[in-house]
Every structure is written in structure tokens, then in C-alpha cells.
Amino acid sequence: MTATPRLGRQRRSVGFVPLAWRNLLANKPRLLRSSGGIGFAVLLMVMQLGFERAFFNASLEVIRLLDGDIFLQRASKYRFATENPFPSRDLEAARAVPGVASAWPLYAAWHRLFWRNPADGKNFLVRVFAFDPDQPILSLPELDANLKGLSDLDTAIVDRRARRFLGMDPAPPAAELNGSRIKIIGSFALGPDFENDGTVVTGDRTFAKLLPNPRGGPPDVELGVIKLTPGSDPITVNRAITAAVPTDVAVLTKGQLLELERKFQADVSSAGPIFAMGTLVGFVVGMLISYQIIYTDLAEQQPQYATMKAMGYRSRYLVQVVLEQATLSALAGWVPASLASIVLFRIVGEVALLPLRMTVELALVSLLLTLSMCLISAVLAVRRVITADPAEVF
């Protein structure tokens, strides 16, 4: 077997990919077919994964916008979108803790305020967030321009991305909340989630007027938003606040707040399993398609592979060529499918008003799935090459 080392050198001079590359390009209609087949399987996976992420992101979006380091809420509050407020004096207690730079209330209503669409006079439940306009605690850049106006009574800013039947896009000059006339002084883009059709932001005084505290005084606080003085130790301050407030008020970091919501959504909704199932089907179908392609190709090229074997190429090299080819056809399916999903996400996201985004993470996850789908089927199909018997060629 003195010939083998020489061929090994020759392989290097032929290069790493060319044989696989040429095999792939040898039959253009088949390449088109394979990238179409694999591509649609990838598209299915990406769409399902994207929907799943959109589902969770839609309900996390507002929490992410909260501008604070530490948050106070009722210990019995099991999710963000439920009204379970605590008295404002507990927030005062937290404000007095050393290391706390500011502690401001977020007021919220999810099922107590009805928005009357001025266009058709119909009433719809909306979620309303309110805060002191001098202390904006939602980091929506578009809010800042309108903060001054929110200090006036009976003013509000509305969500342009709310569901269309609310009539918030474009923002009407005025509308009604629970029968009170409200002047609309601006708009922002947030978007609905699976339970809330639209969002309205008001100043604290307007909120208190709309939903007065039955016990008098300022409204109860849905969420306390606390910022720390620079340089203070979050853990120490967290502990001090916990000691300063009653035990039925919980002290949470933003991460904990997000985690509570994510866990609730995962426990209660079936979005996770629903979309996981779609992804799995896409994977299996993609595997079947790519197995079919590689298998056919190998069957057709068997004489060539046997010849190469007869010339002294090792099975290892031939297997490598097959795997390279599988990788290339994975890419040939993945690239167009990813581009198509960017477009589809944009369209579906606009129509369904969902945060559907092609993120780097999603691109990487889908690329990984595509590669493993094609490589697994290549490994399954490649036995044919290993068993290629040079004698059969003749």
C-alpha cells in the first residue's frame, strides 16, 4: 500500500471541499430540489421557534422596560398582569433605606378600565400603566417627549401597536376611559400580548381620578420601582429593604421578576409544548428529505466511490466527502430559509402585532438544528459508501 501516502497528499492538493462541492453542483435541478425540501423544513422549524419566543417575549416586554434595580410587589402576586397592589406607605419605608436613591410607584389596571374607541363608540378592556410624570419608570424613549403633558389631568399616551379595533393608530385626539373624557397627547409603540389588546399610559393624578382608592389617599402601588445610589451594594440594600417592609411585600431583582413571569407562562400556558412539537416535526421531515437526497446521490455515485476505493482512497476520506456534502446541502437549505423567515416574521409580526424577530440566537439555534438534521441523515446513509465494493464496478 505504498500508494496511499501519495494519494493523501493529492487529497490535500485537491483541497478540502471541492469533491463535495462538485458533487453538489453536478445536478442543478436536484440541488434546487434539495435546498427547497430542506429549506421548507428549516422554515417550519424557524417559524415555530420564532412563535414560541414571540409568545414569551410579548408578556415579558413591559417588564423589560421597567427602569429600576430592585422591585417591590405583593408577595402573593403570582404574575405581572394581575392586580394585587400594596399600600404606598410600604414604598415610603423602602425609600428611607440607606443606599436607595429613588423609590417610585407603578400603578396598573388590567381589568378595570374600558377604552372607548372614538371611531365606532365601542368599549374595550385595556391595560393602563401610570406613574408620576416627573419620575418616568418605563424606559420608552417616545414617552419622554410627552411627559410634561401627562402632568395635566385627564391626559394619556396610547400604544400605536395596539390591536386595530381599539382605534389607537393613529392616536385619536381624545377618547374615553370608563366614561371619562381623556385627551390623547401622544403615542408609543409597544404591542399587545396574548391577553392585553392595548396599552394606555397616564399620569398618577389621572389614574387616581379614574380609579380612586376606596380607602382614600393615593392609589395602592402595583409595583415599587427602586433605584440604588451608585456604588451601593445591591445585596446589602436588598436585605435592608426586606427588613424595612412587611413580610407580605416581596423584594425582587429584575431578573427574579422576569423569571417569575417566565415560569408562570411556562407552567400555565401550553405554548412551549405546542411549538416544540412543530419544531420536532420540522426536524424529522428535514431529516427524511436530506436522507433521501444523500442516499439517492450515493446510490448514483456508487461506481465512482468504488473506483476511488479501488484507487486506494480510504473509506474515511469518502465518508468525509459525504459529510461535507451534507453540510453544504444543509447550508443551501438554511440560507434561503433564514432569509425567507426574516421576511415572513416581518409580515406576520406586523399583522399579528407580535414581537417576531430573527435574532442571532434564533439563527444559530436553527443552523445547529439544520446541520445536525443533515449530518445525522448523512451518517445513516453513508454505510453505502463504506460497503462500496470495488469489484462490483466491473
Binding site: G37, F40, S76, S270, V285
Partner: protein, 377 residues
């Protein structure tokens, strides 16, 4: 002959055919699953109505869907009772409260249905059997689908709802649908005890049962005349249409599962096409020979279509069986009423045939290359 040839080609290379059938199986299964969700969501919204006895539903003009019904005066319901067609007019009260006895000190929201136990409005025997329990003060029946975060639902357990102590009188099997994470039934007097600011003279919904033999459409028309335009009256079909439209168009459900449906259909076409195209190109010399001996293109095309249909059918029936299993799992996991219906089977079967036809048409172009002259090239 077409069938025989198609059969011979498919059985000649069983491994490849099995692959195609597996692909079609997956694609059809996915179509079933997406369709299941697409329909399950409105069905979840209809769950309460489907298990309630009524011919007509009276609701406020602000009625959105079952959980957001608005309210109207009880006097309208009393007036409806005077109509000669009406056998029974029962009020329903809906409220949301904090269940303060949840696991881990959490207080999940519970959907409270207030009703008149004597009216026996449910078709569920399980509920009717236990209705007498509701006459006890501060006693509730709990839906067995209430989530684990509410803690044990054992009869006799005393829980705190808003500020009140309420005794669980038992549980029943109906389903929570989209009413919330937990649902309880209470009598109207207990309902106002839970919600002191609510007044029994404002009701959320009115259930009308008609005397035997009365046509619901005619009765609805005469009740509309009697009660005026402050309220609306739904017959059962009208109500189902309204709720379905709400869930498919007003939420993102329609779009999410609708687009999933379309993509799984296309994936199915791609799988079958893939296999057919390979078969066509592999059998090209044979097809060319057939052409040379005088078979028309139509015959060859027919053979490809037959192959496609055979593959689709072979994939369809196992997929139907598997979908039954998947639906059972989904029912278990999501508590949504996902069920196989005759129409659904028919629709998916039609889709499977369309898949086959679509992929056959795509692979037909390969046939045209079957040139007898090439045989001797």
C-alpha cells in the same frame, strides 16, 4: 395498468417508499395538530356554553365574549319570562376574585360563576348532582381543571377568597376553558357575599329555555321586540359564530396556527415531490421506453399521480391514528377540548390528496425529459 405500474415502482424500492410515507405521515400529522389547535381555541372559548342548557342567550350590547359579557338589568330577564314562548329565564353572574389560599403563599385569580341552583342550567350530570351543596352559606363547587397552584381541591377545605372564608363543597368536571386558571360555582346569595359591591339586579348573562316545540329563531325575534334594543339575543348558532370569530380574528390564534397549517402543507408537498422526482429520474429510461413503444405522456403522468396518491394514502391513515394519540396528550396537557371530528378528517384527507397532486404536478416536468432517442444516445 397505471395502478399496476405505479404499484410496481413503489414496491420495487420499498426502502425509498417507506421514507416517502414516513415524510407524508409527519406532514399530515402536523397538519392535524395545527388544525387541532386552530379549532381547539374557539372550542375552549365555547366550553362553558356547550355544557349549559339554553336555547337563547340574552347579553348586554357591550358583550365581547363569554368572559367579558358586560351587564344588563335583571328586570329585562323578568320581562322575558312573561313571553309565552319562554319556559325558564336564569341569570348568571360572573366575577373575578383572589384565591388567597394558593400554593407558596400566592393568590391566583379565580373566576366565580354565580347562579340559581334550582335552575339546573348545566348539562353536566356531575354538577347537577351536587347543586344542593351550593345552598349552604359560603360554599362553592370547584372545577376539577383548576390548576395545582390553587392547592388541594378536597371537599371540606376552607379557603380564603378575597376577604371571605369559603368552604369547598366538592369538585365537578366541566373544564375551565379560557375563564381563568380556576373556576368556582356559587349560589347568587353567596355571590353577593363575595362581591359586596355587586348588585343582583344587574346580571351578566341570561339563559333562556324555550317551551318544547318552539322555534328559537322566531322566539328570538319576538323577544327582541319585547325587550327592545338595549340588549342582544343570540341563538345557539349565532353565539357559536360570534365566539369563534372572536377567538380566530381578535386574538393572534388564527394567524399563528393558520401559518403553521400552510407551512406544514407545503412541507408535505416537498417531501412527496422529493421522492417522486427521484423515482422519475431513476426510471427515466424505462419511461422513455414506454414512450417509444407508444404510451402517451398522459399515461406516464397518470402513473406519477397514482404513485403520489398511493404514498399520500399510506401516510394518511397512520397519521390519523397518531393524531388521535397526540390529541389525547394535548387534551391532558392543555385542558382544551381538542377532538377529532368527521369534517376535520375529511378536510385533512382532502389536503393530503391535494399535497399528492401538487407534488405530482411538480415532478411531471421531469417526465417530459423522457426522450426515447436518449435511450440510444
Amino acid at each position: 395498468m397505471r395502478f399496476a405500474l405505479a404499484w410496481r415502482i413503489l414496491t420495487y424500492d420499498t426502502g425509498r417508499t417507506a421514507l416517502a410515507v414516513a415524510g407524508v405521515f409527519m406532514a399530515i400529522l402536523l397538519v392535524f395538530v395545527q388544525l387541532g389547535f386552530f379549532i381547539a381555541v374557539p372550542q375552549g372559548g365555547m366550553l362553558f356554553y356547550d355544557r349549559t342548557r339554553f336555547d337563547l342567550l340574552i347579553a348586554s350590547n357591550g358583550y365581547e365574549y363569554q368572559v367579558q359579557p358586560g351587564d344588563f338589568p335583571l328586570s329585562q330577564l323578568d320581562r322575558a319570562k312573561t313571553a309565552p314562548e319562554v319556559a325558564l329565564a336564569a341569570p348568571l353572574y360572573f366575577g373575578e376574585a383572589k384565591w388567597r389560599s394558593g400554593e407558596d403563599g400566592k393568590a391566583p385569580d379565580v373566576f366565580v360563576i354565580g347562579l340559581d341552583p334550582q335552575a339546573r342550567i348545566f348539562t353536566v350530570e356531575d354538577v347537577n348532582r351536587q347543586l344542593a351543596v351550593l345552598d349552604r352559606t359560603d360554599t362553592a363547587l370547584v372545577d376539577s381543571a383548576t390548576r395545582p397552584m390553587f392547592g388541594p381541591l378536597t371537599a371540606g377545605r376552607v379557603v380564603e377568597i378575597d376577604g371571605d372564608k369559603v368552604t369547598i363543597g366538592g369538585d365537578y368536571v366541566l373544564g375551565t376553558g379560557f375563564m381563568g386558571l380556576g373556576v368556582i360555582l356559587v349560589s347568587a346569595p353567596n355571590f353577593v357575599r363575595l362581591f359586596p359591591y355587586r348588585n343582583l339586579s344587574q346580571v351578566n348573562l341570561g339563559l333562556i329555555q324555550l317551551k318544547p316545540g318552539i322555534d328559537p329563531d322566531l322566539a328570538a325575534a319576538s323577544l327582541r321586540k319585547l325587550l327592545g334594543s338595549d340588549i342582544q339575543i343570540f341563538t345557539r348558532p349565532e353565539l357559536e359564530a360570534h365566539e369563534t370569530a372572536y377567538w380566530t380574528t381578535r386574538t393572534s390564534v388564527g394567524l399563528l396556527f393558520g401559518s403553521g397549517l400552510i407551512i406544514s402543507f407545503i412541507v408535505g408537498v416537498m417531501v412527496v415531490y422529493q421522492v417522486l422526482a427521484t423515482q422519475v429520474s431513476r426510471q427515466l429510461p424505462q419511461f422513455a421506453t414506454l414512450k417509444a413503444v407508444g404510451y402517451a405522456d398522459r399515461f406516464l403522468g397518470g402513473t406519477v399521480i397514482t404513485m403520489a396518491l398511493l404514498i399520500a394514502m399510506a401516510g394518511f391513515f397512520p397519521a390519523l391514528a397518531a393524531a388521535q394519540g397526540v390529541y389525547a396528550v394535548i387534551r391532558e396537557e392543555t385542558l382544551l377540548p381538542v377532538e377529532m371530528s368527521g369534517t376535520r378528517v375529511a378536510v385533512v384527507f382532502a389536503a393530503a390528496l391535494a399535497m399528492a397532486a401538487g407534488s405530482a404536478l411538480l415532478s411531471m416536468s421531469g417526465l417530459r425529459r423522457a426522450d426515447p432517442a436518449d435511450l440510444f444516445g
